[in-house]
């Protein structure tokens, strides 16, 4: 049988991060049609929001930008942003999916990023999308919008519409690949981490955009409370993860993520004292352990094994206290830091998955069960490399899946 005789399939890929884009591109590149559904404003997922990428330490966006363009410009891929899968019905071995698109107030296809809405808005709710979106557009924060509609009058391309209706499209697909990625889960239930009690206690993704070169501080490492330069930062690993009260799983990416962040803090300001409080230093990929080793010596990122029992802001804004046992010395310690970064609270996302009737089977921890085709964090905690591998593997499985 010649390969060209193979029937081309149509695949629905749910989630447009690294995993979803890789799967979509591999399918399209082998001639299959793809509907790539992304709930966010743009493709790229969580990686698009990262300042830097491990282990290369490159800007995360550069390699991703190519992937985003490859998907957007491929004739076999229909990209549905701001969309969700509403329903999914299986019959005779194939699926009918209803995709609902809710175009935001500012239509990204028409926005030319001129910024007139931002100058006109009296409440300051028209803001540029995150710096790494391609192409860049403006967004309106609907919750804080006063509905004065001044922006609509100044928009030169008539991109602003307040009374849009959701659009629905029905597509017939042969297979579905779930690649919805991860979302942060609130650490509020675990009171000992002190999350939400002080602006200088951040989650690692909050810290990533706070320290980003393209962010509001232009790469400077500052305290969030008073914009002063911090003297010390603690990175707390397994916050919420490997914890039967919240997330039993290991989130797999946090050890390297913390090492990367601590290293970038050091690069930008070597005077800031960085401590990583970890449980197991999980560095299993190519060059990952060496990446961790780089930090032990002169670079001065201190790795301490210990899990905090209490994190609390000191009175008078004088920093954050972290109480823990250093297991190497068996001593109980209380150390003072200017900032605390909490790492680990990642769970597989459900937001872009359809309603209960069409959702794939999930296991107890919320991951997509292996009976369905999935890739990336929604299948198993994974970093960029693992996600890309799983994505290609899922692409192959979706083509070869027996339809009889």
């Amino acid at each position: 049988m010649q390969p060209t005789e193979k029937k081309k399939r149509t695949i629905l890929v749910v989630g447009g991060g690294v995993a979803g884009m890789s799967a979509a591109f591999d399918l399209a590149d082998s001639g299959h049609r793809v509907h790539l559904v992304e709930s966010g404003h743009d493709l790229g997922g969580q990686v698009a929001k990262l300042d830097k990428f491990y282990p290369t330490d490159h800007c995360a966006f550069c390699p991703l930008w190519t992937e985003i363009r490859r998907c957007k410009e491929h004739s076999c891929i229909s990209v549905h942003t701001n969309s969700r899968v509403e329903t999914l019905e299986k019959s005779n071995g194939s699926y009918r999916a209803v995709i609902t698109k809710s175009t935001p107030v500012i239509d990204p296809d028409l926005c030319i990023y001129c910024g007139r809405c931002e100058s006109a808005c009296p409440k300051g709710v028209a803001r540029p999308i995150w710096e790494h979106a391609y192409p860049p557009v403006y967004l309106i924060d609907g919750d804080r919008c006063g509905d004065c509609r001044t922006c609509a009058d100044v928009c030169p391309t008539k991109a602003i519409g307040f009374d849009r209706e959701e659009l629905q499209a029905e597509v017939a697909v042969d297979e579905v690949i779930w690649s919805a990625g991860f979302t942060e889960v609130s650490l509020a239930p675990l009171k000992e981490y002190g999350w939400g009690t002080h602006p200088d206690i951040l989650t690692s993704l909050e810290f990533e955009s706070w320290k980003a070169e393209s962010g509001e501080n232009k790469g400077a490492i500052l305290r969030r409370s008073n914009k002063a330069i911090p003297r010390s930062i603690a990175f707390i690993q397994c916050a919420g993860a490997r914890d039967l009260r919240l997330l039993p799983q290991c989130s797999a990416v946090c050890c390297m993520h913390a090492l990367k962040q601590a290293q970038w803090v050091k690069r930008r300001n070597p005077d800031i004292h960085c401590v990583i409080l970890y449980t197991d230093l999980r560095t299993v990929g190519r060059d990952y352990y060496e990446y961790a080793l780089r930090d032990f010596g002169g670079n001065g990122v201190r790795l301490v094994r210990g899990r905090p029992s209490l994190i609390y802001p000191l009175p008078g804004g004088d920093g954050i206290a972290v109480k823990f046992e250093d297991t190497a010395t068996q001593k109980r310690e209380i150390w003072k830091f200017d900032m605390v970064v909490l790492n680990g609270n990642l769970k597989p996302t459900l937001s872009s998955l359809p309603g209960d009737n069409a959702r794939p089977e999930l296991d107890a921890e919320g991951f997509v069960n292996r009976t369905a085709t999935s890739c990336g964090f929604v299948m198993e905690p994974a970093d960029v490399t693992e996600s890309a591998i799983q994505a290609s593997s899922a692409a192959l499985r979706s083509i070869l899946a027996d339809k009889s």
């Binding site: 192409p135 999980r282 290609s392």
Partner: protein, 565 residues
């Protein structure tokens, strides 16, 4: 020489309120190289974009220059849209780069805009087109190594309809899994896990398995590799479009470590698998030591599989010897993710004891001829403990197969400093710097059998989508949308054969070729990625990128500083 059409976008006044577009129009209408100057309100809006496309098509405009927003804005969509009409399209950033950042200096901004347009005109007028090459892609594929990664790659390719040659130096497929009695975390037997794949290699008429066979030579490039095999049936010559390397790795032999080889019952993970297989495992207390020969100065990497392997075998010892105890001495338990972390919890619940030690204070083996115990400094409780033990299992890491280096040389792909095949970039984990060569499994980096199978599938679809194109233009062989800039080309008359280009080419695209009594450089177009390294090091300008040749660059620099009137 065909003339250039210039489209200037006003961007609803974003550009025009700072830059004097009329001045620019008049200035360049007078330029003999310019055919027409059109000012539009918004090149990215459907109406104006269509207008520009129609104009380009109808007037058969070969060269187009756009002045609009930055390439990170919408200009790239406009550029690629016009390029589809067959024109050479360049673009100048007039909005972010001129109007916005020089908003307070309209005259300066206009001068800068004019200079930039002038420079791009020089490029369009002096650029030449690289000669393209249309490649007929051979429709067969070679997979080297028949472990889990190679088997899954071969079966994937065959199921997609490609004739697949599967080569292994052993006599039967299966690789390391043939030795493993049970795999983590499912406890299914190793050979059973890949049984359907092994069966398929025998049953699927598209797969041909070559046992006890080695690669003797490789020639060619993506789409057309000529590979010679040497095996029991003599020599076989193949022509394949793509190659999947799944040649596997070795597990470090811990000679001299922890008394291995001297003290009885100090064994490796592979030996405990064999003992399980023969049913001859009797022990009261098994101790597993992790990171033996790994995460040290010589091998500063984690081998991924040893922690879960020890969890599995520790539980297995307890299952098969009622009353037996199992200890895992570790530096970090490496069970990332949800499945392995749950497996770790299961082992703890099952009663496996975990003791953490410092790399600086490794455990010590007790016993002269027969292992009698292990002394370990428990770094969490801060005390030394002696565990009476009659079995010591050393978890040693994967190390690169000694043959990997030779295979990598033959297929012209890089290996990392430990000898594992290296991918092109973390986001493209099974692709290599040499197009058409894909890597998977433990020859790429230590992985579990599940990961190896997934990587094999990943390599299969990547290879299949390349083969599926049947004919490929060398200029389109790029991971960047819109294709490559061009191909470097050496002027044979000017080339002295110094070999600088060969030394710097990261893609091994430059070759010295003997013509008559001298050597000249020749560029393999399929491999060239237009990085320009060879152009930079060529001492006499023989190597050029036609699209960005020395005339282009020289003229652009000259015009960058030309007075604008």
């Amino acid at each position: 020489m065909s003339k250039i059409s210039l489209f200037l976008c006003n961007c609803f006044g974003e550009i025009g309120r700072v830059i004097d577009l009329e001045f620019i129009r008049k200035k360049f209408e007078a330029d003999p190289d310019v055919d027409s100057v059109t000012i539009v309100d918004s090149l990215c809006m459907p109406d104006d974009a269509a207008k520009a496309q129609v104009l380009t098509r109808e007037r058969r405009i070969g060269k187009v220059l756009i002045g609009a927003c930055s390439p990170y804005g919408k200009m790239e969509f406009v550029r690629l849209g016009l390029a589809k009409e067959g024109a050479a399209v360049r673009a100048v950033d007039l909005r972010e780069g001129c109007a916005w950042i020089h908003g307070k200096d309209p005259e300066g901004a206009t001068r800068k805009a004019a200079n930039q347009i002038d420079m791009e005109l020089a490029l369009l007028q002096n650029r030449k087109d690289s000669k393209d090459l249309t490649l007929r892609v051979q429709q067969e594929v070679l997979v080297i190594g028949a472990g889990p990664a190679g088997l899954s790659a071969a079966c994937g390719l065959a199921r997609l309809g490609f004739r697949t040659h599967l080569v292994d130096r052993g006599s039967a497929p299966g690789g390391l899994l043939n030795v493993v009695k049970k795999v983590y975390p499912t406890d299914e037997p190793g050979p059973g896990k890949i049984k359907n794949l092994v069966d398929e290699t025998g049953e699927n008429p598209l797969i041909r398995f070559y046992g006890k066979t080695k690669i003797s030579s490789v020639k060619g490039y993506a789409g057309d590799f000529k590979v010679k095999l040497t095996g029991p049936e003599g020599n076989t010559a193949l022509r394949v479009g793509a190659v999947v390397l799944a040649t596997g790795a070795r597990i470090l032999f811990p000679q001299g470590l922890y008394g291995y080889g001297k003290i009885k019952n100090v064994i490796t993970q592979m030996e405990i698998e064999r003992r399980f297989a023969t049913g001859a495992l009797n022990c009261k207390t098994a101790v597993f030591i992790q990171c033996v020969g790994a995460r040290n100065a010589e091998r500063p990497y984690c081998s991924t599989i040893c922690c879960p392997l020890s969890l599995k075998n520790a539980m297995r010892v307890m299952d098969e010897n009622p009353g037996a105890r199992a200890y895992v001495l570790h530096r970090d338990i490496m069970t990332p993710g949800s499945v392995l972390e749950a497996y770790y919890r299961k082992a703890m619940q099952r009663g496996v004891q975990f003791i953490r030690f410092d790399a600086e204070r490794p455990p010590e083996v007790r016993g002269q001829e027969q292992v009698s115990g292990v002394e370990v400094f428990d770094s969490i409780s801060g005390v030394s403990r002696v565990i009476d033990s009659d079995l010591l299992v050393l978890s040693t890491p994967f190390v690169a197969d000694p043959e990997s280096a030779a295979i990598a040389r033959m297929f012209e792909i890089p290996v990392d400093k430990y000898g594992f095949y290296e991918e092109v970039y973390p986001i493209h984990p099974v692709e290599t710097r040499n197009d058409g060569i894909f890597i998977c499994g433990t020859s790429r980096w230590p992985v579990s059998s599940d990961q190896a199978i997934a990587q094999g599938e990943a390599a299969a679809i990547k290879a299949a989508s390349f083969l599926g194109k049947e004919t490929v233009s060398a200029l389109a062989m790029s991971r960047v949308p819109g294709g490559k800039l061009g191909h470097a080309a050496a002027d044979a008359a000017a080339c002295t054969g110094c070999g600088n280009c060969v030394a710097v080419c990261p893609y091994k695209a430059c070759r010295l070729q003997r013509t008559g009594n001298r050597s000249v450089s020749r560029v393999i177009k399929v491999r060239c990625k237009a990085c320009g390294n060879c152009v930079a090091v060529c001492p006499n300008g023989a190597m050029q990128m036609p699209e960005q040749n020395y005339r282009v660059t020289g003229e652009m620099i000259r015009r960058a500083f030309r007075e604008v009137r």
